[in-house]
Subunit: 213 residues, 2 copies
DNA sequence: GTCTATAAGATGATAGAC
DNA sequence: GTCTATCATCTTATAGAC
């Protein structure tokens, strides 16, 4: 079951796509996707060039188009799906860190604030900027963004349902929770302060309490 | 006190900048700013070109650089300030439409939903996209975006203070209210439905109730 | 104030050797 | 799979006539 392979740049490396360990040597395709996800998060879709992606991923333009013949749109859609999964992981971690759903909300906002601060307030929600820029454009990217939001709402809703919340309350609260996270993250980025996220966490706590069964 | 002037395109028109009536003949500078604000709102900073701005404003490239020698950044900063004022007007209208602050929140979300639907979910918050794209870049634009958020928070906070809310509660609630509006507007745009905004309105109502003095 | 022409460089994408 | 060279187009910005 050999999965890790020799990779150096410039050799006829075999692309597998099984490596998953953080810090481990990643295949070219995976490296391209991750770099793209981070750049979309920081600069948005129009602000990110394919040449920059190739450079920062340590790949060539030819490799990018080899893995993504659909060009920038196909690559962006895949990167959005990657960001979707990253945010989902963070949500699972935060929601699982406290049994009480109201406290879990505070935990999630704290995790987001931590990540924001570590990136000097540059790496916020992985889909927001791209979603807004491509609203009138590529349906492929739009679908990936809509899917991400729905996915995150589902995670929050499941937590609330498991805590005995009414089904409609759970669904609606989940929708607002994700909206609040999006908005508070933006506000924290613009103000370069974690206060908006911390305050939002306390308010979400109170809101969830208000609907507790 | 003559203020309205002959303007046709191609004549040596005098630029005044006093016209304010909707639908009235606007000066070239004002037309450029408004078109830019709408394009930034729809496509973001990087997705909007100066040539497109000139074309849609019915002006020439030379005119754009005549009024904005600082180029795209100066123009974008001015357009963000314009969007700031537009949103502030909407907030004043919504907040003033109901004496009760909790009901006022519902009114504001309804106004936002109305505007979104009218633009086929394309024209959301006038600063979000640009703010995210320029986080690592132009300080001039960043300042305009930060100023806008602070301005809107101030309007909501003043309403709450006037209704007898504790000062810290008012300030913090105002911060979260703006974050919720930003986030719910995004969610409504991505899902092409006013449900997220309507639901957020009800939740904001409940949240404000929870802090009512 | 308005207009055209143009500079200087970046962009997404492709072709074809290796 | 990787690499380089290249195309056609677009970008921001400037110069200077009118």
């Amino acid at each position: 079951m050999e999965t890790k392979q020799h990779r150096r740049r410039g050799t006829g490396a075999t692309e597998r796509g099984t490596a998953a360990e953080p810090g481990a040597a990643l295949g070219t395709r995976e490296r391209i996707v991750r770099v793209t996800a981070r750049l979309l998060q920081r600069q948005g879709y129009e602000g990110t060039g394919i040449k920059q992606i190739a450079r920062e991923a340590g790949a060539t333009l030819g490799s990018v188009y080899h893995f993504f013949p659909g060009g920038k749109q196909e690559l962006a859609a895949e990167a959005i799906r990657h960001g979707d999964e990253e945010m989902a992981d963070l949500l699972r971690e935060g929601l699982g860190s406290a049994e009480d759903p109201a406290e879990a909300m505070v935990a999630v906002t704290a995790l987001l604030a931590e990540g924001l601060r570590e990136s000097d307030w540059l790496e916020g929600c992985p889909v927001t900027a791209t979603a807004l820029e491509t609203l009138g454009g590529s349906p492929e990217i739009q679908r990936a963004c809509a899917r991400a939001l729905a996915n995150w709402q589902e995670l929050v809703g499941a937590k609330l349902l498991a805590c005995g919340f009414d089904e409609q309350d759970a669904r609606e609260l989940a929708c607002t929770v994700i909206s609040v996270l999006e908005g508070a993250e933006l506000t924290s980025q613009v103000t370069r302060s974690d206060a908006p996220l911390r305050i939002a966490g306390r308010h979400l706590h109170r809101l969830v309490e208000a609907y507790r069964p």
